[in-house]
Symmetry: C2
Subunit: 470 residues, 2 copies
């Protein structure tokens, strides 16, 4: 393919400053390459033309050109994904939304913001705050991730138990389909029963149906204050009972996280933090509540009292201030780093119905101890959402390559167990390139065929993010 | 077509007791006909074979048979719709879900119920309550409507401002496609990013993509107590300001309804209730809040104080008990009946961005007074959701048929205005047969084409609810 010709023709369409060709002297090669990959690390970028559109019209012109010329496209957001969803490895045109980061409109009555899809999530938080509102979808990567990418992967995060996924905060979407057509779904209205809801198809479609260029998001009021309770829990089944007691309690539950003793040990080793309780326990639960006044503070004690009386916990502690909130959160938020810096791990992001989780974990442990000796499981996550980060930790004596080879054998066995217990092989991270071969463990053949037909309806030449998801 | 043959063959597939042929001596003709129509009244049922499946497998067998033989099907729920979505007028097979009304599963931890789609909504409320939970989607027709029909039309109701639409309460769906294939979407998990969300396509699809046979719905905790505030508001723009003050207030706002002085007059005439306030006002607003304790009661007074100080209202009153709650609700809930019993009305169920509503209403009034003299507008609805019931009231001197003929001329003019102000021609009632010709005022040609392609993917022979929506 003649990439110089592509560059020149695209330049004529939307302005030559918006098009960069690899090694054309305007951008360092490693920076250029970074626009064609994500955090998965398994795939290498390989592409020649990078486009920085400034508005929906620019995107439509580029996609129309690509459609007419049969050239593939990879939409590029904040590139914080873990499934290879934003990798350009086959000389696709990369369309970066980075320059599309403006607020387009604000409705102070309903509390909505219309923004371009390339806005960094943290900046959306700021824009909401400056207007007296709150955008509640929050997670580790909000400093880099784009709101468009969040929507394309239906991002969740730490407060899903209270606020749901980003799907619940999207009122309207503007997208460019694989034919270069612009669709504007729903706008800024709450109620609209006029035919199929195509907006929801795009949420979580990982850039395979169209490029999300603008969004109208709902805002809410911020929680006045938050307080963390940290618990030592001796048995898994108690976690379920504690969740039952608390998630429909008077005080809004913002987060319900858990970790095992194994994870706690690793965090202590790595961060040098002390034991949170006098005696160790098998499980630890972190609950975060919204509090508004002194009455609410009293309610926190009544929760702790109630679960103590029912002998559901071995120990428990309420943070007395925001600094203590942070101290407790460290035990949960330090896990990923503690593991990845000191060990080689194979990450999994799965979900299961809460009530099936214990049986699944028992079978999963048996599977590993029978067939993969020395493999340890680091288990933690958003248990209130049924979302587990199941990390398999490499035994010291095994080489990295042997370990990952064996993990590739474990995966289908684990996915089969997940299927048996009615779970999902990808709770948050999506499918991308990484889990494409395993999609059949979560979706039936008939569903896959239907998804392909839907993809063809939006993207008849299959030029959008080829090879991802389906 | 040989309906007797169809009856016999379907009987062999799922049991002859489940199949009724018109006038076969087992069911009164008017009852039989009622299964093939809804509340729209514009269309007459005309069909011969009625099927009462008992489970998903029965439905799959009947649809497979229909698919093989090219026979069309109309799914029949509680038949409370207002858009002709459940009308069988062209000798389709009617599949009534009425016998599919069982609870299949309950998860006390997450708080979910798996039910068959033919369960009456009121019964779902009861089933939830018996288990210590609450299902919050509520509206006038819950005593007859089915949960499956609610989902197929994405029902809303009076507490959308707090709880959203039914879309927000559906975790999983089981559907039978137009080929007789059974798809089970998502099950009972909260997080599942594995390909396109087909579940959301079915919500609001009005039976044109498949028949919803089972659902997993989320439950929540019931509000402890509720209190109504009734307000007399002199100007439309004040309503916006009051909404801004209250919908992100400390107390959960359950409902935010409004009516005009014209509607209040009609309710007073019909129900013989007194004036709610000493002086009349142009608009009235009803707000309902959740209250938990005495502190919350005090907050009610602080709201009223705040909007009084800002001179947003002419008068206002807080209900002192549940009887007074009901008294205030009468002014809002009595409107439909007061109008339909004493007048001939042309109903519209539209939505608009709150901030565009006043301009829309000004233009709409001008349109009517210029071109349709004597037409009055009765305006009320869920204004917190931007959802207006815009009823045009027939002038006494006009005949019914002349009135409806003129309304048919008004409609496209009104829809054009709605389009201009970025609203929806159907907020809750759906499209069905009634608004099919006007769908283009809410969706673009490209979207309509894509919807048709999606319909073909699920229902390649077009046998499901033919003629509806698209």
């Amino acid at each position: 393919m003649d990439f110089t010709k592509t560059k020149i023709e695209l330049g004529k369409l939307i302005g030559e400053k918006k098009i960069i060709q690899k090694n054309d002297g305007t951008m360092d090669e490693s920076l250029f390459n970074s626009y064609g990959t994500d955090r998965t690390k398994v795939y290498s970028p390989n592409y020649q033309v990078l486009v920085f559109p400034e508005n929906t019209d620019d995107v439509a012109k580029v996609v129309s050109y690509a459609y007419q010329n049969g050239i593939s496209i990879v939409p590029s957001g904040g590139r914080t994904g873990y499934a290879g969803g934003a990798v350009a490895k086959d000389e696709e045109i990369v369309i970066s939304l980075s320059k599309m980061n403006q607020v387009l409109d604000f409705d102070p009555f309903l509390g909505t913001l219309q923004i371009q899809a390339g806005m960094i999530t943290k900046n959306l938080h700021k824009e909401a705050e400056e207007r007296g509102f709150y955008f509640p979808v929050d997670f580790a990567a909000t400093g880099s991730s784009h709101i468009g990418g969040n929507i394309a992967t239906n991002a969740g995060g730490v407060r899903v138990v209270r606020y749901g996924l980003i799907r619940d905060w999207v009122l309207g979407l503007t997208v460019v389909t694989g034919k270069g057509e612009v669709f504007r779904f729903n706008g800024e209205i709450l109620k609209n029963n006029t035919g199929y809801d195509l907006k929801h198809l795009f949420i979580g479609s990982e850039g395979t149906l169209g490029i999300i260029t603008e969004a109208v998001v709902k805002l809410t009021k911020p929680p006045k204050d938050i307080r963390v309770i940290f618990l030592a829990v001796p048995e898994y089944k108690n976690i379920l009972e504690i969740f039952k007691e608390t998630h429909n309690f008077d005080l809004p539950l913002l987060a319900f996280e858990f970790l095992t003793d194994y994870c706690l040990e690793k965090v202590k080793e790595h961060l040098g933090v002390p034991d949170p309780f006098q005696s160790p326990s098998k499980y630890y639960v972190l609950m975060e509540f919204e509090v508004n006044d002194e009455t609410d503070e009293e309610k926190l004690y009544s929760i702790l009292e109630s679960i103590t009386e029912k002998e559901l916990i071995a120990d428990g502690s309420i943070a007395q201030n925001s600094r203590q909130n942070e101290t407790f959160w460290k035990y949960r938020e330090g896990i990923s780093e503690s593991l990845s810096l000191a060990y080689t791990v194979h990450k999994n992001d799965i979900s299961l119905p809460l009530r099936n989780m214990e049986s699944f974990l028992d079978e999963m442990s048996a599977l590993l101890s029978n067939q993969y000796q020395g493999f340890a499981i680091a288990l933690f996550g958003h248990i209130g959402d049924g979302n587990l980060h199941l990390n398999i930790v490499k035994p010291k004596e095994l080489s990295d390559s042997d370990f990952f080879k064996q993990c590739k054998q474990v995966d289908p066995d684990m996915f089969q167990l997940i299927q048996k217990y009615k779970g999902s092989i990808s709770a948050e991270h999506g499918i991308g390139l990484l889990k494409k071969d395993y999609l059949g463990f979560s979706r039936s053949q008939g569903e896959l065929d239907t998804m392909r037909a839907i993809k063809a309806a939006f993207d008849p030449k299959g030029i959008l993010n080829p090879g991802k998801v389906l």
